[in-house]
Assembly symmetry: D3
Homo-oligomer: 236 residues x 6
């Protein structure tokens, strides 16, 4: 069934999605109703990168990086290459040669549910990768996969043209149809959080900022002055 | 059963326990007879922090950060917030809003057997967290837990008022009743190690510094000059 | 059966093997036909170190560091201490005292399929360790193991005198009998990669650099202009 | 965003898909080009069950089984309930009360990327469950999820009306659009395997049955009579 | 610090706690407000056992079964031996010799956060064990631990004389002070579940049995007839 | 480097090694000084099998079962096929076709640090497999490995002609050079255990059978009548 390469897809405007990188994974994830996050084992190979870009999708056979070679020439400025093996594998599919070639094409980073190698060089060239493992294990070039066909990476469905947001907190998938919502809702959240931050900075606590006290009392929250009061059942 | 909030407990004097942070987890752990260490999956979200403080304990339902909002106003200077979910969960309960609010109250750090997010911001504000995962996954506010009731976090029992020591080597629980012992025994150990370090620096090895040679010979340690001697059974 | 200590073995010339550290784990691993890599869970406790040295091998009982004390005086300039527990254990066998003693003897680093502690101090003294865990858990001195007998560490056989190459990508074992091959093949690879890098830098892609296009077409790779073309079966 | 319940969807004819259960996961998976398999951590709570049915999909909040109560009355004869938590959780969402209620409605089994409990009773009533864990941990009823909306379970996308095939080898998702292909290709495979089995039973080996000898020789396979011949480079 | 052996403690009456075994882990766990469950990696080495008994607690050094020898003569009819290593270890501390000796003393089973071996023989003699691993790795007899001192096993605090309930769903700790509550609340739960079961058997669903419909509607649950209705926003 | 097939090697006499299967993994492992055990994640796909046989070794590329086809015709009565992937992989390399072909040649079982499928059929035909996973994921036939070359499987070195002992407790490697020792030492151990069993059956405990009391007292074991006595420091 494999061996399919779809050359193009509809990409989001890069200026339009740029704020998503700035607002970050945690905020945009909340803005989308807490959906779309890849598994927590997807970690950056170096800290501090923050990106948003259009997903190019690649499936690879276990231990076989053929399709990474196929995808390079199809990438454009602002893309993020999302790679999923067809069965679990942590081999080092991705290294500095790919990083250099993709960076030259303006690719923002790579998200791979497998291994990455040459991590020091990739760090030096400031090419960010989120991966499941760091592993120098090499790969062969024998078996086909697919390019720009929907896949599941680290527990999340990704279609070509979805927007990927990634930073030190992890990797988020924003479906193409929800980009506008992600932008507006994350802006609203940033504004709201700014207001909340001011209240927190003034010493208020979440119980008041979010109006939780009555609700918690109704659920049965009981305060005791100390352990002895609790042992004696003297709530206060 | 949940919904219990105990407001206060006996806290250790901060000046008194400060040396524990300086001596570090490995040393104090040895001083306490190698007890009290949390599991190795508890890792700092940024390197270099070293703290000692009074444990405030919080249990949270899976995917629900209600009780973190409850605990903030109960925290004091020198506290360490210890959080355990009531069943295994790696959601990102803790982020920069909590970090800012707790830091403003003088809290030394957070220890959470679950996920943390906003790790870059937390690093920038120098608020240390030891967690099981970095995960942006958000939480709800529906279900009660307990505050300042004994719990188990990462394999160790923690009571409110126990002293938490944490650094790049992990997280240690010093029971309140053993604080004096921890202080005196760790001081003795530091002094003894200083003496040993001098001997090591002068080129001596542990076999002599710790007087192990005879004991090991009695246990049957045999030396061979090389692999051939070993193959031929010629110990020396 | 344990309690065997073999004092010496044939070591490689340090000047001769120095290029392996410079070329790095990923390159030398490829040069050896993609063999010899330890499991990906072996991670450096601090980033940036790159070493090559002669393996000194040590087996230790679970939770018992006796044999680390035994091995110190047998180490020489350019050695790498490789430690494997006789059953899985992540205790903190190795700390700054050992690091200091070994560094003073010219040892290049430690590779341990178990835990390491005092990681901040080890970083400050620039002594590199690759380990399975960071864990402050202390050990006892009761049970014997072996020194300089072949062992398996993190899935790879290591004999005393094999060359260990380690950097941020992981840990590689070069069998003594293949050191010359590792040197020549990695040099050839570095030269070939330099040529390839020039072509990549000029904008070529791997499909052309490695002559893959015809081979992939023969395997059935099909291109489609976009998702609609694919749905309609119009390859191009 | 959650709280969506879609009551119905197009279901496959049960007689039509029955052969998929008989042919089994491994065979149908091969027939579909080796796609659609859930992760290997999805294991049956008791051995020997083999099912095929129409997927009913349910997302649940961590530690919250609300939506399992919602889905029961929507299930029909021949359905398979597929449950995915919105963040990783192994709580015991599913037990004998649900099993009894679903069995009474003709449901074939449950596939849940979380925990199951009451496993002995479920075994006694012959209700099969494939789960990530067996865990008695109870759940609350506070937070909404979705029913019959596409989800990802154990690494695979599932849409309502996809066909689930499950047995002791694991869990397979057959997309609704590929049911016919799954039926015809698995039948072809069964027939071909029967022919092959006859040849294997007559003592032939795969190298001949699959015509692999020339291809392997071309790839460089070399035979040596024994280890000495190999050491001396005398292939044969 | 170790080397403490406490000979006796207050034990619960065996007839009194017998119903807990019959009601099972899931039911008693619910009756205690969903507290006290050990981690899900604690699995029975053979299926079908169901026990309740008084906890005898044992800590063991990694790879060292000394204290299991110490505890045998202190065990009585109806006890359950709970074993926790002082640092993580999966060695096969427990085998058929221990099983036979304990069974002869009336011990109900062993709970060990480590490895078990001789599992076929233990099954044949019907001695149940819940363990973290099955592993034949042997142990030494060099280092002391403690007997009948509180410990943490698989994430739960256990004191000598707590009641352990274990079956195919896992292992539950009932604190001694809550035994009466566990008995009465689990009986109430069994009775209530019997009533619910009758309603479920008559075809009712949990939404009605537990009165959830209004509450869910208030939380925003929306029904749609099918995917098209949902896409068009036509709830019903 | 791969593509090497060594046809034959020196095999142990099957009658001679048969007692090892009967004595079992735990006993023979002890007899060999507690060495040679594969990792605990190697589990039987069905319980109750107990084998001993001559190791045939096979390395396979990730997701590629080419070499399993190569090895079949080289197998003889009494062999055990040991399979290790060249990088970690859990694909279902081994299924009922291989099982049937090998069983017909008298092969005793398969040990594979990867996945197995068709487990129900393999159970029905009583062909035992010890594997890391049960996973239906299929494999390709593109890349060479080696046959009858030393490898590491599940953490243990295996050479062709080593003896493999496997049962419900796991998998043990007996080096060819130590077969006689394994036979004699395991016989001695069985005899000694029989004597010990008689003493245990008569009610003695290990403290006396193994003469541990004085040694433990010397190490500092202290007995206390109950918790109060311990708290008051009254050992007895």
């Amino acid at each position: 069934m494999s061996g399919i390469v779809v050359r193009t897809f509809e990409r989001a405007d890069l200026d339009e999605i740029a704020p998503l990188a700035e607002r970050g994974v945690a905020t945009v994830h909340e803005a989308l109703g807490r959906t779309g996050l890849m598994a927590s084992f997807m970690r950056p190979i170096w800290p501090g990168a923050s990106i948003a870009g259009n997903a190019v999708t690649v499936t690879v056979a276990p231990g076989d990086n053929t399709m990474l070679h196929v995808v390079v020439e199809l990438c454009r400025d602002g893309d993020v290459v999302v790679v999923a093996p067809t069965s679990p594998c942590e081999d080092g599919y991705f290294g500095d040669l790919f990083g250099g070639a993709l960076k030259a094409r303006g690719v923002r980073g790579t998200v791979i549910e497998a291994g990455c190698r040459d991590v020091r060089t990739l760090h030096e060239m400031r090419y960010p990768v989120w991966s499941k493992a760091v592993f120098a294990q090499g790969t062969v070039k024998e078996t086909l996969g697919d390019v720009n066909v929907p896949l599941v990476c680290a527990g999340r469905r990704v279609e070509p043209g979805d927007v990927i947001v990634a930073d030190d907190d992890g990797v988020l998938v924003v479906p193409r149809a929800r980009i506008d919502e992600a932008l507006s809702a994350s802006l609203a959240r940033v504004n709201k959080e700014a207001a909340n931050r001011a209240r927190f900075a003034a010493g208020e606590v979440g119980l008041d900022v979010y109006g939780m006290r009555d609700k918690l009392a109704a659920k049965g929250l009981r305060y005791y002055d100390d352990a002895r009061a609790y042992a004696e059942g003297r709530s206060s």
